[in-house]
């Protein structure tokens, strides 16, 4: 299918490729529905992010010239040109189309023919080749409704690909990665929640061991999709912009859009909290913990103002929680917390 004439493409891409030639040392990789974040150092400057999206346009010399002129990264096959990663956002706006996602609800998108290939291209943009023994931890969602069977495929595909890049690749629950990133002082005991684009992942950790892990199929995309539908919008661009730039969950909604966003945010939080309660009640193997546990929130969906206060108030207003919660806090950098946690996990196993 694809035209493997990468030489041309690579020539164009070379100046913009963020990955250096050979990587030595541990790597953490957060493979999210909307973004892929790579961390190879403890500081924020050591992270690289690419949108996990692409835009396909029919292959033509004119279109290709435009891409070359703009120094954009693209892939070409006999039918289409594929612009992916961070450039896809600009190209989608330029063409006034919706960017497509290689992943949906936290897993590889089976409905997208090119999902696997595009994702590999995006990953290759930020993850350099390893020497075969470098440790790499990548995030995977927890088990949840409609996830279980696909999760095995998703995890195996990514692991195989990352191994071909020259890494000793292992997976880690996304929520657990948040715990590793943010709960060092608590000796990795607490609850890590990642509010992603496709889903929310939760891990209850005791001394670095995940005791309860699960996911709910509600995330940023769920909010965008439903708000777009209920408001009769043509696409989700307006909704996404409102969400990312103006939404403040600590204030009363001022219009239909913000009201709808409030409703779906609350629905997502409520679903997660209820599920968390249920999981605690169902679990019989929780160790005895003599102190309250902290909850740490991360992920792009947790970015809007007032998210933390909203979650905290909903957690405490729903009656007595099965465990004592010390505090609810936001990750230092919600967008890179998962990747950073993966990096710490990888580093801990690097000799």
């Amino acid at each position: 299918m694809e035209d493997r004439n990468q030489a041309n493409a690579n020539k164009v891409e070379a100046p913009k490729n963020e990955a250096s030639n050979i990587k030595t040392g541990a790597v953490g990789l957060d493979i999210g529905t909307s973004r892929i974040v790579m961390a190879d150092g403890a500081a924020q400057k050591d992270t690289r992010t690419q949108l996990n999206a692409f835009v396909a346009v029919p292959s033509s010399e004119m279109a290709e010239n435009v891409l070359k002129h703009k120094n954009m990264v693209y892939e070409r096959n006999c039918k289409n040109l594929y612009v992916y990663g961070n450039d896809s956002n600009f190209f989608a706006s330029f063409l006034n189309v919706e960017a497509r996602r290689p992943m949906r609800d936290g897993l590889l998108n089976a409905q997208e023919e090119m999902s696997n290939h595009i994702m590999q291209l995006i990953i290759q943009r930020i993850v350099p080749r390893g020497r075969g023994k470098e440790m790499l931890y990548f995030s995977v969602p927890g088990k949840g409704e409609g996830v279980n069977g696909k999760l095995v495929y998703h995890e195996a595909m990514l692991r195989n690909f990352l191994q071909t890049l020259g890494y000793n690749a292992r997976s880690i629950n996304e929520g657990q990665a948040v715990v590793f990133s943010e709960l060092q002082e608590e000796n990795f005991t607490g609850i890590g929640i990642s509010f992603g684009g496709g889903m929310c992942n939760v891990s209850v950790s005791f001394m670095s061991m995940p005791m309860i892990t699960f996911s709910i199929p509600k995330g940023g995309d769920y909010i965008d999709r439903n708000v777009t539908e209920v408001l009769g919008e043509a696409n989700s661009t307006k909704v996404r912009l409102e969400k990312e730039e103006n939404l403040d969950l600590s204030r009363q909604p001022k219009d239909d859009l913000s009201r709808a966003l409030h409703i779906y945010y609350e629905d997502m939080m409520q679903t997660l909290i209820e599920r968390l309660r249920a999981e605690f009640r169902a679990s019989s193997q929780l160790p005895k913990i003599d102190r309250p546990m902290p909850i740490v929130l991360a992920g792009g969906t947790a970015k809007p103002a007032g998210f933390l206060q909203k979650f905290d108030s909903m957690l405490r207003s729903g009656g007595e929680f099965p465990i004592e919660v010390s505090d609810v806090r936001m990750a230092k950098d919600p967008l890179t917390a998962t990747a950073n946690g993966c990096y710490i996990a990888a580093l801990s196993e690097t000799k």
């Binding site: 990795f188 005791f206 001394m207 929780l286 801990s348």
Partner: protein, 521 residues
């Protein structure tokens, strides 16, 4: 991560909820040594993996033994808490090993890290101990060796003490079983046919050989002269009796005598080691110490050690400071301050704490008898002049007899070919009115020796004759005693300073060791 599903499910089942809590608390204390998250994570994961492996190994070991299973020990161990304690022990050991591996190897960096970590003092101390474990092992081994040696030494020492006690007890039992021979080793000599004959004069004993450091006599006596020394020349007067009363002597030159008229037997009251072959060297060291002390203080004329060797210390012609305040008499008269008139012979021995039964070795007994023969022959000493310190010692301050207790009873007179002086009325009581109290009677075994009773009667009858009360008579005689003692001191041929020194040291303890039975002047 490294945790498997089995590990994840097991972490909450480290036997009990309490065990899990203990585990987490212990590990968390040490986790604070690590600032970097990946190090802390590695430490936690490794520790948990190790702990679960240990638990599995322990379970397997306990379950695979049929005997343990049959006796139900597995459940009992768990219920009693030993199982958890064992796991805790392993946990601590593993944690310390992990810390050793994961902390920086540079000592400065490591010290810095330990100092700024938030770990408790106890945790830091425990880890420091682990770091110095080889040193501590060495110290523990050394302590064990010292303890073992101490135990061994104590056992040997106790065995010797028991041996000595048993030997002493056997001797006591033998004496009780054979009252006729109740004179320690004197019984042996007595049974060999040596009996006291009142008019017996020893055969003439003469010097056979005189070498550099010894003299050998015709009766077999051998006197070592290594420690021989001099002192002031003897000088004393005899207080003659006229019609049973003491005659005042004055200080006329013509009455001064300079040769010994008797022998006073002493005990050294020094520390005694058990008389066993393995103590030979130690016994000799003690003896040398005693001899040095006696020579330095000029305490006796002769010392007989435990092996029966006779040492001359102060020459016969010179006085030794052995008797101090003392009184005795013979057919010629009464002697006051016997340092000047009597020879002092000391046996290296000691009274036992609760009794005055002095212990003489067989060798001392034989040597003492031979020395007595030599001295009696050389100085023409009568039987009446051979007496013990306990019999002659007095305390003028309270007018009591028996100020020193050595040989206050049980001296083997008969074995020495001498008459029993315990039956003789002591001149201290009969002439000067010295008396005794309950304490003295108690120390003498309940009563004073028989001669004292006779002497008391004599003193009372003398007071009656003079028509004064015994108390008044005693007061007068006390003054008389003091005058005679002063006269004796003045008669010393040395200059006054030496005389004064001699007077002060007369009643000082003769041996370096303590003298439990002696009362200080």
């Amino acid at each position: 991560m490294t945790a498997t599903k089995a590990q994840i499910s097991s972490v909450s089942q480290l036997t009990t909820a309490e065990a899990t809590l203990f585990y987490s608390k212990t590990v968390e204390r040490y986790a604070s040594f690590f600032d970097r998250p990946e190090q802390r994570l590695r430490f936690l994961n490794n520790t948990l993996a190790h702990q679960l492996a240990c638990k599995e190994k322990l379970d397997h070991a306990l379950e695979s033994h049929s005997l343990i299973k049959r006796l139900g020990l597995y459940e009992r161990l768990k219920n009693a808490g030993f199982y958890d304690r064992l796991l805790d022990l392993w946990l601590h050991r593993h944690i310390c090993r992990e810390l050793q591996d994961l902390l920086p190897s540079a000592s400065k960096e490591r010290r810095h890290l330990l100092q700024r970590s938030k770990a408790t003092f106890a945790t830091q101390l425990l880890f420091r101990c682990y770091e110095m474990r080889r040193l501590l092992y060495g110290a523990a081994v050394a302590a064990c060796v010292v303890a073992l040696l101490g135990c061994g030494y104590t056992a040997v020492w106790s065995a010797r003490r028991v041996n000595t006690y048993l030997a002493s007890r056997r001797q006591t039992e033998r004496r009780l079983a054979n009252p006729a021979g109740n004179r320690n080793n004197a019984a042996v000599a007595a049974e060999s046919g040596v009996k006291h004959m009142p008019d017996y004069r020893p055969e003439k004993v003469w010097l056979v050989e005189q070498q550099g450091n010894y003299e050998r006599y015709s009766n077999g006596a051998r006197i070592l002269t290594d420690y021989e020394t001099g002192n002031h020349t003897r000088g004393y007067v005899v207080l003659p009796r006229n019609q049973g009363m003491l005659v005042k002597t004055g200080s006329g030159e013509q009455s001064i005598r300079r040769h010994p008229v008797g022998i006073v037997y002493h005990t050294s009251e020094s520390d005694m080691l058990p008389f066993t072959p393995d103590n030979n060297a130690s016994i000799e060291v003690h003896t040398r110490g005693l001899l040095e002390y006696v020579r330095k203080n000029k305490s006796y004329n002769y010392v007989i050690d435990r092996f029966g060797q006779v040492y001359r210390i102060v020459r016969d012609a010179d006085a030794a400071h052995h008797a101090g305040n003392s009184v005795w008499s013979d057919a010629e008269g009464v002697y006051v301050g016997l340092n000047e008139s009597f020879l002092g012979v000391c046996f290296e021995t000691n009274s036992e704490s609760d009794s005055l039964d002095e212990q003489l070795t067989e060798a001392q007994l034989v040597a003492g008898r031979l020395l007595t023969q030599v001295l009696r022959s050389r100085h023409n000493i009568s039987d009446a002049g051979c007496v013990t310190h306990g019999l002659v010692s007095v305390n003028p301050s309270n007018m009591l007899i028996c100020y020193h207790h050595d040989w206050a009873r049980n001296f083997p007179f008969e074995a020495f070919g001498l008459s029993d002086k315990y039956k003789v009325a002591p001149a201290s009581v009969s002439e000067f009115g010295f008396t005794y109290d309950e304490e003295i009677m108690e120390k003498l075994g309940g009563d004073v020796w028989p001669g004292v009773k006779v002497a008391e009667e004599e003193f009372h009858s003398r007071a009656e004759k003079l028509n004064v009360t015994p108390e008044e008579m005693r007061r007068r005689m006390r003054e008389r005693y003091r005058e005679e003692m002063n006269l004796t001191l003045r008669l010393r041929t040395t200059h006054p300073a030496e005389a004064e020194t001699s007077r002060q040291t007369d009643d000082s303890p003769p041996a370096p060791a303590s003298r439990p039975n002696a009362r200080q002047t």
